[in-house]
Symmetry: D2
Subunit: 101 residues, 4 copies
């Protein structure tokens, strides 16, 4: 199981199947959007579905982030030193991207 | 070509192929996320791709919304009365969902 | 009453007092944040208040946007031509900034 | 200096003056918005300033969050056990509020 550097496996792997199921559902939602455009449905109805798809993606992000904090960041914190600082910076940058997307 | 009520076809239909191409690319991005989870890639790398996918969806929304304003809302404004008020309310609600997603 | 170009007064002016009251409340929220930092309160409690302040600002934006659509954009739509196109583009750019902020 | 439970002072306190200065500037921005509404300025110009104010608040949040992760969460991680879990949950909830505001 690939891990990042000398690091225990990533937190989300315990719920890997659930993440895969959620991502497959999101894939289905995006195909549904294609069908709506194909069938020239009303713009507002398509926009409503896009917002629902964005929310589903957002909740996948928040789940992954929580697992990352609980495992990768906590492990690095215990190791301390530069590794902890890097992990915190990395997590903070990911949070900033999430907030701004 | 189905239209919404007694209304000219929706604005986005002129760029239908472009929207379909963008949505198929987003579908590919979501399948890419599944692969990253399947191959147990690093959480932060997955989060970076989720943010990119969310941004792509967001720009599809903004495009659809602009077309909706330029066509459906402008048509209704010219018709005036209750139809114009309903279209404005509908567009404002869609904008609120977009802002809050 | 200053209007933008040869244009009827802006829509929000009918609810001017309400917007001023909401903005003064937001000003109070920001001063409250200063007090929390001054008194070195717990980070998470401050973050909770920042989110509440951001939501209050967001709802002011959505209100102003709805009034702008109902008045300025509808007026321009009835005038038609380049003025309508410019107003739609302007409103779409404002919506994009709001979505991305 | 009040601390949260048996916990070292909060991370942001090292940059307390900077946070106070930023929050005072945001207070000034909100008063500026009041002036724009008072003087019945154009809706789009007000919306532009609201987006700028929201971005300034957002960057205060991201700063506080990074300090919280670097200090409070890292400290709790070293302590381990329930305290670490609570801190992670608390930080994750704050991130979710930030993402959804």
């Amino acid at each position: 199981m690939p891990a990042h550097g000398n690091h225990t496996p990533h937190g989300y792997i315990q719920r890997k199947d659930e993440y895969l199921r959620r991502l497959r559902r999101i894939e289905g939602q995006v195909r549904g959007l294609q069908r709506m455009v194909e069938e020239e449905e009303y713009c507002i109805d398509i926009l409503t579905q896009v917002s629902a798809t964005t929310k589903a993606l957002q909740s996948v992000s928040l789940g992954l982030l929580e697992e990352h904090l609980s495992h990768c960041v906590v492990d690095a914190a215990r190791t301390g030193g530069q590794q902890a600082d890097e992990k915190i910076q990395e997590a903070s940058d990911a949070i900033a991207r999430l907030v701004r997307s």
